[in-house]
């Protein structure tokens, strides 16, 4: 792989010479796509970082059309220079002759935290205060002006919840390997809870949580994971954000963050919609488990990562999903 990367960077940076590629190390982060870190050096000037990450296309959970490495790359490019901090994405390559599958090369930022799991309570609160400001800024972006219409707006704002549910039910049915009464009961319940009104359509991250950021000294340097980005109801992002943050900082602080969001955006929290999207995001976790199990069960040789993703990483969300369906 280093040889191919050497040839690739040399082709992409014709103004420099003597390109050298350091050893590649596989990142332990992320469970669906392989990512490698490497350093590069060259003689001459290029507006590209020397510390780089290579993100591969093959995913062990979702696939086209629900996620897309190319779409994610375009979203990153559109966000560069906006009020939403992102890492620089340099190239998307879909010619398989380089590495056998499409890939992206992007900036790598070192000496940062990728999770708030081990932060102090004060640090967690400071980071999440910063995060809600970023989400407010993200939901206030003019997505048309940024050229993000390709993400596909819903037919009407009010049709978004139904279209969202339909899309992910399709994914669930496509990937399901056996009967799953819990998920089916959850879908049936969700289909009767669709909110009737959506106040606006914004750029959503899809699943926005405190383990999808890079932070240092209590400040967020970059917001990560835009592969599920879409245009839709901001309450959907806030519901996932709330689910992901409550175990870290408690209900009261999350309510404070939601109030802060309303203050920054002028958008009140729609409680009916919020309840629907909370249950939807729990259902979505079940779809993650379903797609990961499918990957585990249908690939040869099977790999442990998707099995562990299906059975362990989604466990706390699955427990909450069961609780939301049964009320027990």
């Amino acid at each position: 792989m280093p040889d191919a990367l050497h040839r690739y960077l040399s082709a992409r940076l014709p103004q420099v010479s003597d390109v050298r590629i350091g050893p590649l190390t596989r990142s332990p982060g992320g469970s669906s796509r392989a990512m490698y870190f490497f350093d590069a050096s060259w003689t001459g000037d290029a507006t590209v970082s020397n510390t780089l990450a290579l993100r591969m296309d093959e995913s062990s959970t979702f696939k086209e059309p629900e996620i897309s490495l190319h779409r994610e790359f375009l979203v990153y490019r559109a966000l560069m220079g906006t009020t939403v901090p992102v890492i620089d994405n340099y190239w998307y390559e879909n010619d398989p002759s380089w590495l056998g599958q499409p890939f992206v090369i992007r900036q790598r930022v070192d000496d940062v935290h990728t999770s708030i799991d081990f932060a102090s309570t004060a640090e967690k609160q400071a980071i999440l205060e910063n995060f809600i400001e970023i989400i407010a800024a993200q939901h206030s972006l003019d997505w048309r002006a940024l050229g993000l219409e390709f993400l596909g707006a819903p037919q009407t704002p009010d049709s978004f919840p139904g279209e969202l549910l339909e899309k992910w039910v399709r994914v669930f049915r496509r990937e399901q390997l056996g009967p799953d009464p819990l998920t089916v009961a959850g879908i049936a319940a969700l289909s009767r809870q669709l909110p009737s009104h959506v106040c606006k359509i914004a750029l959503l991250q899809g699943q926005v949580g405190p383990n999808q950021i890079l932070w240092r000294d209590g400040k967020i340097l970059a917001s990560l994971d835009w592969e599920s980005a879409m245009l839709g109801d901001p309450m959907a992002d806030l519901a996932y954000f709330s689910l992901a943050c409550r175990p870290h900082v408690g209900d009261e602080f999350v309510e404070h963050l939601l109030d802060r969001y309303s203050e920054l955006t002028g958008t009140p929290i729609q409680r009916e919609s919020f309840a629907f999207y909370t249950n939807f995001q729990l259902f979505w976790a079940s779809v993650v488990a379903t797609t990961s199990l499918n990957y585990f069960g249908t690939r040869h040789p099977p790999r442990l990562e998707p099995l562990r993703a299906a059975m362990v990483r989604t466990r706390s969300m699955m427990r909450r999903f069961e609780n939301s369906v049964t009320g027990l």
Binding site: T25, R26, P28, D180, A185, M318, R319
Partner: protein, 157 residues
């Protein structure tokens, strides 16, 4: 043989945890070691409790479907609502009669029927259907706990 399969699995876990893991410097290898230890523990739990959990699920699924039959018999006006739920010939039987392949096959069939019932969840209101709804919800809850019991490992990995 004078040793159990469980002791072999435990030894493999110890080998990964105590011999290989400390020697790894790659974060990715570290993560894979954790996954391997988890998977071996999952296998040990399945070997130790898998049949017992499947029998318990079989019993609960047949109870849910017996409730469907009861509602069909007592409330003909509700029979149409339950039309999509197929009848499965897999009633409760002594555990000894259910060999593993039969048990697995029947549980799959029963789950399929209960999945059809699950599609009707929002319609299972009213007093006449409360017993059926309760049985279904109890099954969904207990099944989640059964799964949890074989995938959640107490020690860190």
């Amino acid at each position: 043989m004078f040793y159990s399969l469980d002791s072999v699995l435990e030894a493999v876990q110890a080998c990964i945890r105590d011999d290989l893991w400390p020697e790894t410097s790659s974060p990715w290898a570290d993560r894979q070691a954790r996954s391997a230890i988890w998977a071996l523990e999952h296998v040990r739990e399945r070997l130790a409790h898998g049949r017992e959990l499947l029998l318990s699920e079989h019993q609960q699924l047949t109870a849910v479907l017996a409730e469907v039959e009861r509602v069909r018999a007592l409330c003909p006006e509700l029979a149409a609502a339950l039309e999509s739920v197929v009848t499965v010939e897999a009633g409760p039987r002594p555990a000894a009669e259910l060999l593993d392949p039969v048990l697995e096959g029947e549980v799959r069939q029963l789950r399929q029927a209960v999945e059809q019932l699950a599609e009707l969840v929002p319609d299972l209101g009213g007093e006449q259907l409360s017993g059926l709804r309760d049985a279904l919800m109890r099954y969904l809850h207990d099944q989640d706990r059964r799964i949890e019991s074989v995938v959640t490992i107490a020690h860190t990995c």
